[in-house]
């Protein structure tokens, strides 16, 4: 078991190192090696599935204030590691076509593989410090890959923005890890979950809210979501892998992991529910008005992550993780097929697309599969998990939040159909030659589409795995048939389905409803301007820069003023000491 952990993290990292060393002109070898290493990591992760356990399986002694680096391959961790490596492999396979002929492939693949290893490490780590280290490495990879096209100022800006915002949030996790260390003496998460009382109440709540901030920043939740749309400058496989299927889930993972310790903290669950609700609802609105295909998908990601966060807030850990699985699969599918479309059309603006279904029938088919899952139509994987969340929310959560989430589901359906229509149907609005995607692109999207249709069948196995290994969460998951039956027969499902249907009808009859739509114009404007969050970001940046510029005038360059500084410092210190002593 310990070997499998090392392999899952080590194989992609080894690959990253090797590929970095290759020369630019060996691009075939680079492609091949990347695929091989990614697949090998996927196999290693899958091999861990049968033997998940809640015990520490690997311990590396570091000593000093760094404690032991420990790994626990429990159900939650292994499941996410599998998602990371398998989706990662598919994204790498997709990249072979997508990145064909690009420069700096070595850097691209190295960073992707580094990311896959780090993500697997993140979810398997049991030392909070180690988790934090992996957390930061994923942020580093995400930043470098977003700004992969360094010549494009927008890409650079997007990358740095993502880095800064996730790092800002990361401080929350840093505080959490430091608190654990200060009071518990090591970083062991399992030990802490077993006995959260070692922390004084106020420190526990500092830690709980710190983790919430970290999770919100990583999972692009309101008000830290602004980096995710900017991250769409990355190559599409990256958007699919990092910014839809894996890294952004780390926040949800963190909340789910610590839920048993934090649920008693005053106001914490309410805060989590509010963050989830706001994100789900506002981001859905933003997706509705977005014109950039990848941005629309990014907002949709924020919104779906909002559902997962909300589910954690209501205590529905299983539902949240199950939705995470579904979402990882169908959103990766959507991003990859959108990437294929963009690759072919050469623009991301949906207003320039339209009528692409004729030239790209395969991509249309798989995109629609993903879209239906996103909208939550029955028998796609998104349907089951979303219904599970909403049902649990109705029973466990506050009613106001439930109503909001329900409305969000309706809007989701609406924007999903809008997206499909704008891209694949109607009249072609742009120009240029369109070609169907490459073979490897079809292979990876095809596999994901198959997953979208089938992963819900795993509900029973998945539930059992979590129930057995997440001992501190006290999960109680029904068997698969019971669950499925429950979902289908629950009144909540009917309610949700009718809302989704309303969304669908709303798009269908958009012409007659134009009058009503016009009255929503202010909402549209607010949504396109990101509800003012972007404005806050810009102000903060401007102020910091203005402050920095103002401060620069203190470096006068004049020797006289420099000596003045020395004497001034002396006086201040003398005064301080005279007063302090």
């Amino acid at each position: 078991m310990d070997w499998l952990i090392i392999l899952t993290i080590g194989i992609p990292w080894l690959g990253a190192g090797l590929i970095w060393l290759l020369e630019e002109r060996q691009s075939r070898l680079q492609h091949t090696l990347a695929v091989v290493f990614a697949l090998a990591a996927g196999v290693a992760a899958l091999a861990m599935l049968p033997s998940t356990t809640e015990q520490v399986e690997l311990r590396i002694k570091i000593g000093s204030v760094f404690g032991d680096f420990t790994f626990v391959p429990d159900g939650l961790g292994v499941f996410l590691a599998v998602v990371a490596t398998v989706v990662g492999s598919l994204a790498v396979i997709f990249s072979v076509d997508y990145m064909h002929g690009e420069a700096q492939l070595g850097r691209y693949y190295s960073l992707v593989l580094l990311f896959i290893g780090a993500m697997a490490g993140l979810v398997l780590a049991d030392s909070l410090l180690l988790l934090f280290i992996f957390w930061e490495i994923t942020a580093l990879c995400s930043y470098s890959l977003i700004s992969f096209y360094n010549d494009d100022p927008k890409a650079v800006e997007g990358g740095i923005k993502a880095l800064i915002i996730t790092q800002l949030g990361g401080i929350g996790l840093l505080v959490g890890a430091l608190v654990i260390y200060a009071y518990q003496g090591d970083y062991q998460i399992s030990r802490f979950l077993n006995e959260p009382e070692v922390l004084p109440t106020n420190m526990l709540s500092v830690m709980a809210f710190g983790c919430l901030i970290a999770a919100a920043a990583k999972s692009a939740q309101v008000p830290f979501h602004t980096w995710l749309p900017g991250a769409m400058e990355a190559p599409s496989p990256i958007s699919a892998l990092i910014h839809a299927a894996t890294m952004v889930n780390a926040g949800v993972y963190l909340l789910a992991r610590f839920y048993p310790a934090f649920e008693e903290v005053d106001g914490w669950t309410t805060a989590v529910i509010s963050v989830g609700l706001l994100s789900a609802f506002l981001a859905a609105l933003m997706a509705l008005f977005a014109t950039d295909l990848k941005r629309a998908l990014a907002y949709s990601t924020i919104s779906q992550l909002g559902y997962m966060v909300y589910a954690v807030g209501t205590g529905a850990i299983f539902a949240s993780q199950f939705h995470l699985l579904s979402h990882a699969v169908f959103k990766a599918l959507l991003f990859l097929s959108a990437g294929a479309v963009i690759h072919s059309v050469g623009t991301r603006d949906m207003r320039q697309m339209g009528g692409l279904g004729k030239q790209m029938p395969f991509m249309r088919a798989v995109f629609i599969v993903g879209a239906l899952a996103l909208a939550g139509l029955p028998f796609f994987n998104g349907f089951w998990s979303k219904e599970l969340i909403l049902e649990d929310g109705l029973h466990e959560g506050p009613v106001w939040a439930y109503v909001g989430m329900l409305a969000g589901a309706g809007i989701t359906a609406l924007y999903t159909f809008r997206m499909v229509w704008l891209v694949f149907y109607g009249e072609r609005r742009g120009s240029g030659h369109i070609h169907e995607a490459g073979r490897l692109m079809k292979l990876s999207t095809g596999l994901l589409a198959a997953g979208t249709l089938t992963t819900w069948l795993l509900i029973g196995v998945f539930g059992e795995m979590l129930e057995n290994t997440l001992i501190y969460h006290h999960l109680h998951v029904e068997s698969a048939p019971t669950l499925l039956e429950e979902i289908i027969t629950a009144p909540a499902t009917l309610l949700a389905l009718s809302v989704v249907a309303a969304g669908l009808l709303g798009w269908w009859f958009r012409a007659p409803l134009a009058g009503i739509a016009a009255s929503f114009k202010p909402v549209g404007q607010a949504a396109t301007s990101d509800f003012g969050f972007e404005w806050i970001n810009r102000r903060v940046t401007d102020w910091t820069n203005a402050g920095a510029n103002a401060l620069r005038t203190t470096q006068t360059g004049s020797l006289n003023w420099n000596v003045f500084g020395i004497i001034g410092g002396l006086i201040v210190v003398l005064v301080i000491l005279a007063l302090g002593a």
């Binding site: 470096q555 006289n560 000596v563």
Partner: protein, 101 residues
């Protein structure tokens, strides 16, 4: 007020004069002059301190070392001043405040 106190005060005053010079002067040579005054003050203070703790010879020994160091710094300062004059054609500090921000 004993002599020593007055001398200590004198050293301080000299020190202040040196700092004052550094604050206002714009000429490289005068900067070196001011530095010299500054170190002279410190030197005086060291000897006075030696005297105050009844170890005048210790104070002297320290002062001797300080004189050497001080002279070396003066030489370097003057050499720099000469070089500044050669390169820039002036010894005005305003010409030497181009690196800023």
């Amino acid at each position: 007020m004993s002599t020593l106190t007055i001398l200590a005060g004198g050293a301080l005053a000299l020190f202040a004069v040196g700092l004052y010079g550094l604050l206002i002067t714009r000429n490289m040579i005068k900067v070196v002059v001011a530095l010299q005054i500054l170190v002279k003050a410190a030197l005086l203070a060291l000897v006075v301190a030696g005297k105050a703790s009844d170890q005048i010879n210790l104070g002297q020994s320290l002062a001797m070392t300080v004189i050497v160091a001080d002279t070396v710094v003066a030489v370097i300062g003057l050499a720099l001043a000469v070089q500044v004059k050669r390169v820039l054609g002036t010894m005005d500090l305003t010409e030497l405040s181009k690196l800023r921000g």
